[in-house]
Amino acid sequence: MIFLRLILTNLSRHRIRTAISVAGIAFAVAAMLTVVTILQGAVGMFSSLLSADSQIVVFERNVADLFFSSVPQSAIDAIPTWTLVEHANPVLFGIVASPTQPIITCFGVTATDTRLTRATWVAGSDAAFRTAGQGAGGSNGADSVVLGERAAEFLHAQLHSTIALGNGHFTVDGILRTRNGFEDGGVFMPLATAQRFFHKQGIASVVTVKLRHASDAAAFKARMQREFPTLIALEDQEFNNTYSQFKILKATAWAVGLAGVLMGGLGVANTMIMSVFTRIREIAILRVNGFSPIQLTALILGEAAVVSFTGSVVGLGTGALAVMVLKSVPMLHGYVDATMSPGLLLAVAVLAIGTGIAGALYPAAYAMRVRPVEALRFE
């Protein structure tokens, strides 16, 4: 009890200094939580984009980014015919710019793609995908596209309006709403149109495959290996765990968050150093009254733990609030995954508290070395 009282007394003695340290940890934790949550959300979205009503993703072996993957027409044609397969959807990814937007993701898909069949149609329909198939013009003769709802907003497009993408002009034949932020901010083209527009005739970036029986995954992969050795088939979870872009995103999220927490930890270290240096005489008094170096260390680390714990609690609350606010921003619709797992919260809190305590190790070591007889002369 007295031990805790000593800890709290020491912290309350310099309330502003303590509050700044708590705020440092809190901001770090909030930043980490927000960054990790947003990037995990992005990864989750991209992953769900690939796994929409499918179990397996087929793409070119040894490519770092799916945008550079080339699945040949022979595979696009063959895979849906295999008896193991219930359906297979080729998708061509592309990036274009418009006069107002530097980056817009394009999806070249077929009419049977679940992205279209399961979407909520805000305006228009997927007729262009059914009829044109091969890129026939829209109502004014230009190629037809369907826009995600958010893409329609930032492109200021309406049904039947014409939009400029890259070097081409397209007629908006539909606007759809999906739960996926990437798709909502994207442009859907008939596969043939996309292949022509991106100069990738006969190519898809990926083929998403749904098997008749999930247990046939191994057999499907074996057949892929046999018949298309330049391609690779991965089950969704397998893909999520191995795709290098996901790894980079996750690593970036944790690295950025960790940097923030380390900054917070340095704040705690600074506070504890100041705290110890201004309490040399007090530390000497404790030593004279029998406190061991270990007990003094526990005292200093206890103070750091209280600061870090309080900062973590405040930071988790602030971070959760920030994520909720970001989630409600229309521009970020679908980009923020607001589900914060207990594991993530625990990891962030443990990291922050651990860093804070680590920051107090030097001050604690200094306190252990205080020689009472010299410190008692210290006024």
Binding site: I2, F3, N289
Partner: protein
Amino acid sequence: MNSSMPVGKATPNEPILRAEGLTKAYENGAIPVLHGVSLEVYPQQTVALCGPSGCGKSTLLHLLGGLDSPDSGEIVVRGQPLRPGRMVQTMLRHHVGFVFQLHNLLPDLTLTENCLIPTVAAGVPRAEAMERLHQLADRTGLSHRLQQRIQKLSGGERQRTALCRALMNRPSILLADEPTGALDEATSRQIFALLLELVDREGITLVMATHDRALAARCDRLLEMHDGKMMDSAGSGARTAG
């Protein structure tokens, strides 16, 4: 508290505290303070160290209490040579109490909390510690001030609190460095009387540095120091049992 004493036991005929040829200098030997000081203190004696400022009284007390190490010489406490480290820690927790000229209390804590610090260090159960505190507070007239912060206590009350704190773990030796030096004369007399009463009642050995010869005269022995040397000894050591 004194029942488990890893540091040896003194018998009435043996000194509880013995120093042999202590030397000490500061600033890498540039400032010599003690020159071969020796003394023996027997259980339950009250010993006054007198001498002018800078003669080495405080340094000697610090060495005897293990707060500092001599450059040469030996200190034996309760029959065992004093070694830095764990032994000093054990001694400070169980066998030696310190009272300083400046009370050295923690100003943000209450009287009770200050007095409980040594018991926390020694791991004394709280109930036992509180019982001891009430006992000492009764004897020192501080019972009504237990929850007061140190800042609100008078100089005399603060020194009485420091005395209580020093005695919380029932030490067998009390080292007092000018315990009344910062008090007015009347308060000084009161505190010293209280100090003598407590050490007498609890059977504690007292070694006290003081300028005040009138106070020193009330101790069993008076040791005179000058320029880091022990000059002579007055008093018979009458309280040495046996």
